[in-house]
């Protein structure tokens, strides 16, 4: 079984509003899967269906080869975007309660919590109430209760919000570690730099439809514009630029170099290769800078969503 989770043709309507329109996803085992999309696109609706909080109107969800059923809640860990804990309950009691709801026995839950509390160096908080903790501290507890039952599938919705950079780094490391140990991770976020860092595959949902999905590298290739950042040291930059315009598309540079070079963005036109561009440049001066502009996840997100509207 290659995919841990398969979402097939899922439709969800709220009255007249369609939240998910025939959405399908295939999430490979052991991957970090980025579920992206603008606010209100339908991501939360989909995540709630995977968590069996709501049921799809039609379509199916398959987890590890089996149709999703109530027993599967024990195999899924979910960190919602809007999260919280019982304010007046003690940290330890609360974590135990949530672990037991996920199907762990009390003794097993205690053992695992002890491990995690020591790992995060928060054992001293066991008898504190949540209302006594800072937001970042509460988030750590929240992370632990999401992962402590060793779920096959972990769903993180904006996991870094509320963390300072150091703790965000710690959490990112833990998430990747969990993948190493065999968990599959769905990662929903608006922070595109963390998508670049962590995701193997992504899906983009906009206006209730899936508009894009696949391996991040493949998608980047798909969105490639064959544009290069060019820096050239030359005697007469104006002449070079004019000649360049005859065979290539030239845009003003959006980057800076250390010395006084001619800088620009050059897009290959039909029939040209990067070697053609490079040989043109070397014949007219000294090439200081030559880099292909790889579309960032951010660019892809914006382009795809704009195209869809």
């Amino acid at each position: 079984m290659k995919n841990l989770l398969e979402v097939n043709n899922v439709v969800k309507k709220y009255g007249d509003f369609t939240a998910l329109n025939n959405v399908s996803l295939h999430i490979p085992k052991g991957s970090v899967f980025g579920l992206l999309g603008p606010n209100g696109a339908g991501k939360t609706s989909l995540i709630r269906i995977i968590n069996q909080i709501t049921m799809p109107d039609s379509g199916s969800v398959i987890l590890d080869g089996e149709a999703l059923a109530p027993k599967h809640t024990a195999q899924i860990g979910y960190l919602p975007e809007e999260r919280g804990l019982y304010k007046s309950m003690k940290v330890g009691e609360q974590a135990l309660y949530l672990a037991q709801l996920k199907g762990l026995s009390k003794s097993e839950a205690k053992k695992r919590l002890k491990y995690w509390f020591e790992k995060f160096d928060i054992s001293a908080w066991w008898n504190k109430k949540i209302e006594e903790l800072s937001k970042g501290m509460a988030q750590k507890v929240q992370f632990i209760v999401t992962v402590m039952h060793n779920p096959k599938l972990l769903i993180f919705d904006e996991p870094f919000s509320g963390f300072d950079p150091i703790n965000a780094q710690l959490i990112a490391k833990e998430i990747l570690q969990l993948r190493e140990e065999g968990a599959t991770i769905i990662f929903s976020t608006h922070r595109m730099e963390s998508v670049e860092e962590m995701c193997d595959e992504i899906a983009l949902i906009d206006k209730s439809n899936k508009i894009l999905d696949g391996k991040l590298d493949d998608i980047k290739r798909q969105f490639r514009t064959h544009t290069f950042q060019v820096g050239l040291e030359t005697e007469n930059p104006k002449e070079v630029e004019e000649k360049l315009r005859k065979s290539f598309e030239v845009f003003p540079a959006d980057f800076k170099l250390l010395n006084d070079s001619l800088t620009m963005n050059v897009k290959l036109t039909e029939g040209n290769t990067s070697n053609d561009l490079l040989s043109f440049l070397t014949s007219r001066g000294e090439v200081q800078h030559f880099v292909e502009l790889i579309p960032s996840a951010n660019d892809i997100f914006i382009q795809a969503v704009n195209k869809n509207s």
């Binding site: 709220y14 009255g15 709630r48 968590n51 069996q52 909080i53 709501t54 109530p70 809640t73 899924i76 979910y78 919602p80 809007e82 999260r83 919280g84 804990l85 019982y86 304010k87 007046s88 309950m89 309660y97 949530l98 037991q100 709801l101 996920k102 209760v145």
Partner: protein, 439 residues
Amino acid sequence: MSKLKLIIQREFIAKVRNKSFIVMTFLSPLIMVGMGALVYFLMQKNDEKVKKIVYVDNSGMFSKEDFKDSKTIHFTDYTALGVEETKKKVEEGNYYGALIIPKQDSLELLAKSIEFYSKDSPGMSVMSSMENKIETKIRNEKLTNYGIDLEKIKASKINTDIKMFNFSGEESSKLINGLKIGVGAIAGYFLMMFVMIYGTSVMRSVIEEKTSRIIEIIVSSVKPFQLMLGKILGNASAGLLQFFIWGIILFIISIVASSIFGVDMVEMQTARVPAEQMEAVKQATEGDKGQMIIQEIFKLPILKMFVLFIFYFLGGFMLYSSLFAAVGAAVDNETDTQQFMLPIMLPLILGVYVGFATVINDPHGSIAVLFSHIPFTSPIVMLMRVPFGVSWYELAISMALLLVTFVFMVWLAAKIYRVGILMYGKKPTYKDLYKWLKY
């Protein structure tokens, strides 16, 4: 099933550990008794003040014999002073009021032309006491005019006390009837209070989960319906525990109190009996008046009432608290609950009013019977009727109706709850709630 148990456990512990629960449980019986004692004390103090009333009798019919002083009212004859002078004096001095009896040609006219002047409006008891005295005097005067011997009338006075039995051979008395009314009313009223207090507690608990945003984590582990049911049952168990503790405390207090106040109650009963009969009653009940009350209480179908109280409490609580849970799920904070609370509170309050108004007069009248079958009022009204004896088939119908309705309401509320717990922002309208039912 074990998840439901976990939820019930958590809700129960969260409720019971709460400081306000502990304070309510152990202090409120004492506060209730204390309040009762305070009211009793204040009433006594209020009556102790002697009211000085003067009268001007221009008819010449009345004498001091007719206006005997009582413990709290003293009468003085000011006829010699004249009407105007008396009024002036009363207005300036420390008097309660002035009774002016004019001279009239006939007794009928006289009866309608007597006036009373006072600085403040007089109390009901003072007025009726004076009216009684005047009525007796004028009636006696008329009887004498008709040539009837007053002595014979006095001698012909006789008191009857019909002994009441039901067909199962139970003897009842006015005393036990009063007790039945009291016990029924207390049970019904208690039930309403419990449903309100614990119903709002369920609602608050739902709102707390919503505002703390833990709700989404919980419902990713358990079904919303399980969570709602667990909440309701957890709160119900906390309520029952509190009720048991109160029951025990009140039982102890009542045994102590009845040995003190029991005496007064018997005297109240015998106060209207003429002196010669009173002696006999006193002899019969001497020594064990307090015990008599307790004996009468134990004659009530206590076990049946207890079992029914538990049933109707649970049934009524489930019915109403599922609605409270739905309201809690629909809103984001407690201030938004007002508009939805009213329709829930109304039938509860109606139940108590109908109970007090109809059951006391006629426990088996058609209105009382009707409302003891309507599921929204039956827990209260039926509990009020039970001490008077309700047939098993009537109980069975009422209980079955309650059971069916509560299952239906829990199902309906769960649908609203399921959607509402994940909705934030705008306060929903009734139309929205209706839409949620179909999601």
